[in-house]
């Protein structure tokens, strides 16, 4: 499998690897994929009161393209609003990393991870409002 230089760079030097406290009301966690399918991505975002993503962390079990896709999105989403990151398309990720057709599913998974993290955060915030 020939990987693009960008994939290799993210694979060798993944950005923003790590975990944040899941129970923090400012943290949204998205976990997508399944071990049997060969990919599991966990993406976490931390959002300030201004609605801007201050930090992002990921962990990925998967091939080089899956690791690179999730590493790349952590770079992209920092400093953006939730509405802005919902506009990121898997095709943007695939294009940036020059993913071959058999690896497009990795970019789809990364897009799903963003959506899952945002949905988790929104659910947390709305339940917090109900409680208040």
């Amino acid at each position: 499998m020939a990987y693009s230089e960008k994939v290799l760079d993210h694979y060798e030097n993944p950005r923003n690897v790590g975990s944040m406290d899941k129970s923090d009301p400012h943290v949204g966690t998205g976990m997508v994929g399944a071990p049997a399918c060969g990919d599991v991505m966990k993406l976490q975002i931390k959002v300030g009161d201004d609605g801007i993503i201050q930090d992002a962390k990921f962990k990925t079990y998967g091939c080089g393209s899956a690791i690179a896709s999730s590493s790349l999105v952590t770079e992209w989403i920092k400093g953006k609003t939730l509405d802005q990151v919902m506009e990121i398309k898997n095709s943007d990720i695939a294009e940036e990393l020059a993913l071959p057709p058999v690896k497009i599913h990795c970019s789809v998974l990364a897009e799903d991870a963003i959506r899952a993290a945002v949905a988790d955060l929104k659910a947390k915030q709305s339940s917090a409002k109900v409680a208040a």
């Binding site: 399944a34 049997a36 690791i67």
Partner: protein
């Protein structure tokens, strides 16, 4: 530590030709180029003598009569000739074949081909340690079973099947017994005068000989008959036509001579290296050896690394040349069918590595490999959400995954 990378640890895929073998082959390409079938001049006689000397060397390694050795292009052809040749010759007796799920494709596919022309087959599953349960084998036999084929040493997991017990049952019931020994020569002692085996396949290139040459042992007492699969000039007593590749044959003979003389010492050295590799890798948490560790050649160590994904693992270990249980390198995403047959999960089958050690492996290379694996597995696990969950005590089987 100075080692040249990538380090070759894929001796079960193929071996380098031993320099002594290569030197012996060369004159048979240039000076002694005669056709061994030419009976009317010295060029032919010289080539024929070289072929017969090599046949004797091959026979000696496995304690057979040289007249029981038929040259082929390799173990794949030997398996085809043995299985299709015997099944067709004895098809009047019955049309049922018994073999294993963990056989090499060069056995599985000829059996599948026979199914297409009216034979029936039973593919036995191994025990979780890769070995065949003899009672299950006995129970699978039918009155119309004509042929059984079980490999001696498995190519992926290195386990050694009990071909004495299997062969004895075949003898009792008058079933032809074929053994694929491509991975066994120079690794385990083979004595065909004692073994209850009728047909046995050999390859040169797994034992420091050249690619493109192999042999099939065909028992003379009691005489086993096979139908030729390659028709032509009637070479090799009519069992395999085609001009003999003298230089390749000379190479196989020399490789098998060296194996006979050096295997005892070589295996001691290789076992020591294997033990060192194994104990080093076992310092890593959550590793699983695939296949029985005792009934196994020391040359093979097949290990699954839990919570890391197969393809990224292969990317991480590019400084060592190894085989992976994950077929991601090929077109399909299917994990190894051998590991699946042992009952390994897809994840563990994907994240397996076959290390195979050989004649030119050094202790420094083993040390380098252990250090590399510790470092890379550590890095990949740091990246792995599954490893994190495992560390947190979460049972991954209880998680509802969103399959995609």
């Amino acid at each position: 530590m100075s080692v040249k990378t990538p380090i070759y640890l894929d001796y079960s895929a193929t071996t380098p030709v031993d320099k002594r073998v290569a030197e012996k082959m060369i004159p048979y390409l240039t000076e002694h180029f005669g056709n061994p079938a030419s009976r009317s001049h010295a060029f032919g006689w010289t080539a024929e003598e070289a072929v017969e000397n090599a046949r004797e060397e091959v026979a000696k390694l496995v304690n057979a009569d040289p007249r029981e050795i038929v040259w082929t292009s390799g173990a794949t052809e030997s398996n085809n000739l043995a299985i299709k040749g015997a099944a067709h010759f004895y098809s009047g007796k019955g049309k049922h074949i018994v073999t294993m799920q963990t056989e090499h494709k060069a056995v599985i596919d000829p059996v599948r081909e026979l199914e297409r022309v009216g034979f029936e087959s039973t593919f036995l599953s191994p025990e979780p340690n890769g070995l065949l349960d003899i009672e299950k084998f006995r129970a699978a036999l039918r009155p119309d079973t004509v042929l059984a084929s079980v490999m001696l040493v498995n190519n992926e997991i290195g386990v050694i099947q009990d071909i004495v017990a299997i062969g004895n049952i075949c003898r009792e019931q008058g079933i032809i017994f074929h053994v694929d020994a491509a991975q066994a020569t120079g690794k385990v002692a083979i004595d065909l005068e004692q073994l209850p085996v009728d047909l046995m396949s050999f390859s040169a290139h797994k034992t420091y000989g050249p690619k493109g040459i192999g042999a099939l042992y065909v028992r003379r007492k009691p005489r086993i008959r096979i139908e030729a699969q390659m028709h032509g000039g009637g070479h090799e007593r009519g069992m395999r036509s085609g001009t003999l590749a003298t230089h390749q044959i000379v190479g196989m003979g020399e490789a098998f001579r060296i194996a006979r003389e050096e295997m005892a010492l070589e295996n001691v050295r290789i076992r020591r290296l294997r033990d060192k590799l194994l104990s080093g890798l076992q310092e890593i948490e959550e590793v699983y050896v695939n296949g029985d560790l005792d009934q196994r050649v020391p040359h093979n160590l097949n290990i699954s690394f839990n919570f890391v994904e197969g393809e990224s693992l292969i990317m991480a270990v590019k400084d060592i040349a190894v085989s992976s249980g994950s077929a991601c390198t090929s077109a399909s995403l299917e994990p190894s069918y051998v590991l699946r047959a042992l009952g390994r999960s897809d994840e563990l089958a994907h994240s397996s590595i076959r290390f195979s050690i050989g004649r030119f492996t050094t202790e420094e290379e083993i040390d380098f490999t252990v250090a590399l694996m510790k470092d890379k597995i550590g890095k990949l696990r740091e990246l792995s959400p599954l490893w994190e969950m495992y560390q947190d005590g979460i049972d991954l089987n209880s998680v509802q995954w969103a399959a995609h």
